[in-house]
């Protein structure tokens, strides 16, 4: 399941990140935010009235906003216990 499809407030493991779909600097920024394979994410808010806006996710103790094209590059597996792995 992609991060874009993950229901809100359901912690999930990051299974795979398609680094090739991201620019070098965006990929680096995601890593710096703590997003990597094995991390736990939780989608908190979808922005935009028509659902095309960015997504705010909890990663560790941070809240990170990203556009849908970034979230689509992240494959997740629901079932993590909480967002503080």
């Amino acid at each position: 399941m992609r991060l874009t499809d993950l229901p809100l407030r359901q912690p999930a493991y990051v299974d795979l990140i398609d680094w090739n779909a991201l620019s070098t600097s965006d990929g680096q920024r995601l890593r710096e935010f703590g997003l990597c394979e094995g991390a736990v994410v939780e989608a908190l808010h979808h922005g935009g009235l028509l659902g095309r806006g960015p997504i705010a996710c909890k990663v560790g103790r941070m809240t990170v906003a990203m556009r849908r094209n970034h979230a689509a590059a992240i494959t997740v597996r629901p079932g993590a216990r909480d967002g503080r792995a």
Binding site: S23, D26, C36, G47, R52, P54, T63, A65
Partner: protein
Amino acid sequence: MSTLPLVALVGNPNAGKSALFNALTGARQKLGNYPGVTVERKAGRLPLSDGRPIELVDLPGTYSLNPTSPDEQVTRDVVLGRQHGERLPDALVVVVDASNLDNHLRFALELIALGRPTVVALNMVDLAARDGLELDPEALARELGVPVISTVAVRKRGLDTLRTELEAMLDGAPSRQRPPAAPEAFDRLRGEARRIARAAIVRETPSRRLTAVVDRVALHPVSGLALLLALLFIMFQAVYAWSEAPIAMIEGLAQAASDAATQALPDGLLRSFLVDGVINGVGSVVVFLPQILILFSFILMLEATGYMVRAAFLMDGLMARVGLSGRAFIPLLSSFACAVPGIMATRTIADPKDRLTTILIAPLMTCSARLPVYAVIIGAFIPARDVGLGIGLQGLVLFCLYVAGIIGAMMAALVLRLTVTKGASGGFLMEMPKYQWPRPQDIALGLWQRAVIFLKRAGTIIFTSTVILWLLLSFPKAPADSGISQVNYSVAGRIANGLNVVLEPIGFNRDISLALIPAMAAREVAVSALATVYSLDADEDEAKLERSLGDRLKDNWPLPTALAFLAWFVFAPQCISTIAVTRRETNGWKWPLFMIGYLFALAYVAAGLTYWTATALGLG
């Protein structure tokens, strides 16, 4: 100054670095720029316990020594001693957010590995406690191998200990310097950071986070947008409602100064220079200081509370549609106060094309310098009528001018992104900070700095251009019996008559052409220039002197001309500071010249269309 020991504050964004910097240096701050780049250099003096001062610099926040924006590059270069115009810091204060150790320790480890004398400020320990997090600073210090000091910048906790630690460090052995870690070390450092964070956390109880609760409302597609619009509405209302009294006070002072000068001096050149040139000219601009400060206080508050990033999140969908990053919302909102800090704020946009587009459209946001122009024209030509629901016609016209600027900017962005700044759309990747109450002193300090910048501008650019205009208007003197008005006879009048050939088709008269020349320096100069023109012209007819600028405009301009004048100022890039900052930010003349060109073209077409339409509708 250069002999003082230099200490750099460095850390992740949102680690509370600036609050710590303000708490340590108080009002003893110096704002400047690093040579060659337009990254702001914030420096201040910190006295040690024995009275010796050290120089403290607040470096832009960054996540690693691998920069993705010009701001972050400065941080890396200063820390490594490679920044032109800055000496290698004698010590580093690494600021980490106590409630986000996993993440912030990674960067701290990267900095500690450089081998410089380093002390870690474990900041915002109070907010961490609020989140149910108890930490052991001593365990952290053992693991990191450098001193760790718990601080709460906003309450001045831990500052003395930090100072003592720095003192000992600067007196200590000469420092080494190791090269930065290779990017491949990233994962190792992250693992290490996580392990150390675990070791330092004594207890972690899950607790309801205030931020999460507020965000449920503030980031909701419907209630969030409603909240944002309400905040913006209150902000723009406040700019007018709260500024009336202070504006009246400044006007009173200017009038008193003008009266005093008129009485004290004999009629002649000196009096004309002081009253018509200096007091009228500069006074008509300083009057806007209250409105600018109100606007800035809102923007500073929105930034300091952490709301600004939420606003960017809500607006990102719209921004994406015209090819901009959600981040562009913050500089564009600042541009409502002034395009100069707005354009400087684009430094946080990583993508160069995204950033360039934002710079090019920032001058279309209705900055506070347009207010004087709009206010005078609207006051004179638009009747103060109620159009129903308690909405005044004057306010409505002003609102339309703001909207015209925003729509113009969005259209321009769309076109620019398809042509000159074509490329992949930039992203929106941002950390959302925790909400916190801003410290009133921090807001006051920010406002004070803005006020000084504005008054300096009024004292230099605006003063100079007003004086030059007065000179050009006063010479050569028209012969007393010629029947030619002084304005027509003067150098400025002759230049304006030439320019008028181009501007006449869009309904502008000679006086407007005259005012537009000095207004290249700053838009608000148009008002002081018109005031100077009509006050010099009035000399021949003493009766006219008693009348306000608005009344004189109304006598001399037909309505379509006034409307065209308003439309012109929605677009025209008449601000030398904006052009200068664009040149600095884009490293050359190409983009500022492009900006001047496309904005003047838009201004000409908009003013023309307005004039022709209004004339055709019989409004003249």
